[in-house]
């Protein structure tokens, strides 16, 4: 990198001076200061890990990038599109076209079969139903989700099975930017390795990945850099 400007120009995911606090209006207006002036940049092909103690604000930062939490101050862009302050339509389009997200827990839609949950982002992107299902089946196979489960809603699946459905969904499209919130948390060694391979493949095709990995070994295998969010802890007033 020649200079800082050049680096931030190339960032696929770019957080600058991001501050977040929650105001709990029904609890006496309690204000929880979570992050202050967080700066994180992720370039295409790079995987960056967020670290910091539980409650430090790792998931909060990921959620702000995804447009799920509002940004108090500062600026977030993904692929040049500004997320902070964006309207719903802009965020929806970004999620459809650019930004993938594997949440910490699968949010199950009642009665929707696992394979359709995985295929949904592909259908939304205009894939033909058969092609989308075939692709989803390939991912579920790779993640060792038994075929007998594919047609069932995941509400009764084990935590690990649900998480693998969630991962398959997150990796169904080749998003240029990807957010991962503890993707390997409830997985055994075999499936953890599958996820790490998926991450390597995504990096190889140029995806910018920002992730939280509880497991240091997993982190060291795929991450190029670590950003400790404790550095963005707000100063107590």
């Amino acid at each position: 990198m020649d200079d800082c400007v050049g680096e931030s120009d190339k960032a696929m995911i770019d957080c600058e001076g991001v501050t977040k606090r929650f105001t709990l209006h029904n609890q006496g207006g309690t204000v929880i200061e979570v992050l202050s002036r967080a700066d994180v940049q992720v370039a295409p092909g790079e995987c960056v890990a967020l670290t910091g103690a539980s409650g430090a604000g790792k998931s909060t930062l990921i959620r702000m990038i995804h447009g799920n939490y509002l940004v108090e101050e500062g600026r977030i862009t993904v692929g040049g599109v500004q997320v902070s302050g964006a309207d719903a339509r802009t965020v929806l389009r970004l999620r459809r076209e650019t930004l993938g997200y594997v949440s910490q827990f699968l949010r199950v839609v009642p009665r929707v079969p696992a394979i359709d949950i995985v295929a949904e982002p592909l259908l939304t992107a205009g894939w033909h139903a058969d092609a989308a299902r075939a692709h989803a089946a390939g991912l579920l196979t790779r993640l060792n989700v038994p075929e007998r489960l594919w047609g069932l809603g995941p509400s009764t699946f084990s935590g690990g099975e649900q998480q693998r459905v969630n991962i398959a969904r997150g990796f169904a499209r080749n998003y240029p930017a990807l957010l991962l919130d503890e993707p390997t948390a409830s997985l055994d060694a075999t499936n953890r390795d599958v996820v790490l391979s998926l991450i390597r493949e995504a990096k190889a095709r140029g995806a910018a990945i920002l992730g939280i990995f509880h497991d240091e070994n997993a982190r060291s295998q795929v991450c190029d850099r670590v950003v400790d969010v404790s550095a963005f802890r707000p100063v107590a007033t």
Binding site: F22, T23, N26, Y69, R89, L92, V109, P110
Partner: protein, 260 residues
Amino acid sequence: MTAALEQPLLQVRGVTKHYGARLGCGDVSFDLWPGEVMGIVGESGSGKSTLLSCLAGHLPPDAGEVRFDVDGSLRDTLQLTEPERRRLHRTDWAFVHQHARDGLRMGVSAGGNVGERLMAIGARNYGEIRSQAADWLNRVEIAAERMDDRPTAFSGGMQQRLQIARNLVTGPRLVFMDEPTGGLDVSVQARLLDLLRGLVREMGLSAIIVTHDLAVVRLLADRLMVMKDGRVVEQGLTDQVLDDPQHGYTQLLVSSVLQV
């Protein structure tokens, strides 16, 4: 840029409605874009139905404008000519009522209820109307052999699915729904929601759904508007409003339900 060519399907500005001195809904503004589903939530009496009725042209607002994309230009729906207005209500718009009996003709067969909407837009070939009606009954999971039965013989969930078929058969561009799953058993609600989710995606429908059920909007709506005492207190992306609510009232609403 193609963005310059894009415009909202529905543009709402400052819509206000009073009932005497009482506020029904006040100063509501938003843009709805093609393919978007917007949810409106709020407790009973917050003005959701009043707003929806104003938007759908069932109730004249005291103030404000409702503009709809007619042949590429945004037109004030209160200023349309009679034929334009008719076209809007018969083809471009659909309204799904909370109580199926308000949206169905109870004395007419299921097939007739669906076929009638087609005839209203000029369909004349009996065989074709019947086959399209049959196709739609099938899509809303009503067995073909029930086609000649009257809705009075149907369960609540079936009546609601029939109402949806009647509304969607003309391929509307915008669907208004007032508590479409209200008053149904939870399992029946779930089935109806599945159906609506599928139809919304397949048809690329734009819709405005009024409900007091946050789980319904979590499932169906891209965007959410929260109303209280006739006013919009907060609006945004559905998951953002539910997961990071900014207004005290929304925080209360979200924390009062188990998990959505």
